[in-house]
């Protein structure tokens, strides 16, 4: 039922999905009010993830538009990180995790047979919650990904470009040989962003990238994300409502669906829409309750 709502709110397509959308959704989707979005970059279709026998997220469907920031919000344990990790097949590394459904990137199913997860991760980069630079020099951190691919020449330029893109160059240009761990938390996180950029992905997934940072460092990263959105498709998980409201173009709200029969708490997508709409005029009462802090 929830994923139906989600499908009803599917973006970009313009045409109404099959099945009658509920009244609220119809209201929201009054013809002509649908804002123009960029083309679909990633499409998540009926994705469910299980850890062993436990279903962590069920039947999630939504589209991620190109060169925009999509925020995933929702209470703890609703499967935001799990879903994010399915987008670049990081969940393959978790023993016992199984993913069903399809994730389409540029029109190709990344779970199709013959697709190398390593190739997927080179196109769809990831920034983690805790800054995790390698215990290597700043330079080597950024050069790590390109070197994996056998690149040896013009590394200097690539490192500089990536660090500039991550708004860190001016702060570190004189100490590229120093350990990445010698930087502050915010700088480390920007180093991780530079490291991800250096592999030349076009999608960057960020799992609560600012939760370990102070407000000023957080603002810098947010500025950076907005700046990067012209070039990259960004999907960010955040617990910070203001952050979602400040940076994202679209917001997807997830919640936990309690199955009393099987005693299972499964994450489901409630709705996804323009961030403005979600924050001012959400169609599902649960979204509004969560956003206004009245979440039960």
């Amino acid at each position: 039922m929830d994923h139906r709502t989600a499908m009803a709110r599917d973006l970009d397509h313009g045409q109404p999905p099959d099945g009658a959308p509920d009244e609220q959704a119809a209201q929201q989707h009054a013809p002509g009010t649908e804002p123009a979005h960029h083309a679909v970059h990633i499409s998540i279709d009926q994705v469910s993830v299980r850890y062993g026998a436990f279903t962590a997220v069920r039947d999630v469907c939504f589209d991620v538009p190109r060169n925009a920031i999509t925020a995933l919000i929702g209470p703890s344990g609703c499967g935001k990180s799990t879903l994010l990790r399915t987008i670049n097949r990081m969940n393959d590394l978790v023993p016992g995790a199984t993913t069903t459904g399809a994730v389409t990137y540029n029109g190709e199913d990344i779970y199709a047979e013959g697709v190398d997860p390593v190739e997927v991760r080179r196109r769809i980069g990831m920034v983690f919650q805790k800054p995790n630079p390698f215990p290597k020099s700043i330079y080597d951190n950024v050069a790590f990904g390109p070197r994996l691919n056998g690149r040896k020449r013009d590394l200097d330029d690539l490192v500089e470009h990536s660090l500039r893109r991550a708004a860190l160059w001016d702060e570190v240009k004189d100490k590229l040989a120093q350990s990445g761990l010698s930087l502050s938390g915010g700088q480390q996180q920007r180093l991780c962003i530079a490291r991800a950029i250096a592999v030349d992905p076009d999608v960057i997934l960020m799992d609560e990238p600012c939760s370990a940072l102070d407000p000023i460092a957080t603002l810098r990263i947010e500025e950076l994300m907005k700046d990067m959105a012209s070039e990259y498709t960004i999907v960010i998980v955040t617990h910070n409502m203001q952050q979602a409201a400040r940076v994202s173009d679209l917001t997807a709200f997830f919640t936990v669906d309690m199955d009393n029969e099987r005693q299972e708490r499964t994450g489901v997508l409630v709705e996804i829409d323009d961030t403005d709409t979600i924050f001012t005029n959400a169609s599902d009462p649960r979204t509004e309750a969560y956003i206004t802090g009245r979440f039960g």
Partner: protein
Amino acid sequence: MSTPTSTPTAATHENRPSLLVTSPNGRRRARISQLMTGVLLLTVLAALVPLAILLWQVISNGWGPFSWEFLTTVEPLSYRDTGGGYLAGIVGTLYMTGVAALISVPLGLAAAVYLNERPKGRYASVVRFFTDVMTGVPSVFVGLAVYALLVSGSGGLGLGFGTLAGAASLAIIMLPIVVRSSEEMLRLVPADLKQAAFGLGARQWQTTLKVTLPAAAPGLTTGVILAVARGAGETAPLILTALGAREVVLRLTGAPQADIGLLMLDGFRQPFEGGIQRAWAGGFTLILITLGLSIIARALARRSQI
């Protein structure tokens, strides 16, 4: 202590006694604590005293006959004669330890990487079981096994006594120590770092080679050196494999090899002052070697920060 039946209220909180008033129970706890500290201190001493006596014995007896001559010449023909030294044994011990390290370190590291990357892999429990068993096998038996497999011509490869056979037995003794300590060190590498590497499109082997192993390198070095030191001090497995020699031997096979421990064994067995003096100096040399290796290992360990 508040009585568990009464719910604390603001009033009871206000009426708490001064911090200087110790509850009777608290005094008892303090006494037990003191007692236990004393007991533990005694056990530490009990462990340290034999070590101190041993070191004192070797140093006080070995320091005198230890000299430059001892390090650079071989033993005189007769155990009666004084002078001469353990050059043959020192060369042999270092040679065999080196070859043993060349065999056991790569193998042990590989096994540790396997155990770390596939903790529930098909062979993981087998590898763990055998490393555990190997740690417990008496070292004479290791020598016996290598004798049967490599040295002896009937049923074995028939390599004869020598460097390679001795090194093989030392390698078997080092191997489980290398595996266990390395596995421990690899486990300390944060999962975060591996995730980061995978997130950048690294393959499993690239992650292991470029992230996990370098991050664990200082700890791995420490473990490896301690294992090597352990092997360097072994004598029992060499009795049936290196056999012992009095001249410097550089051949890998075909000639029995000398060893400090074996020379000491011969020296102490004879009732002649010269041989006994050299044996003490040999013990001192062996302690210098193993202590030196341990100190290097500790120094590296202190620098290790994953």
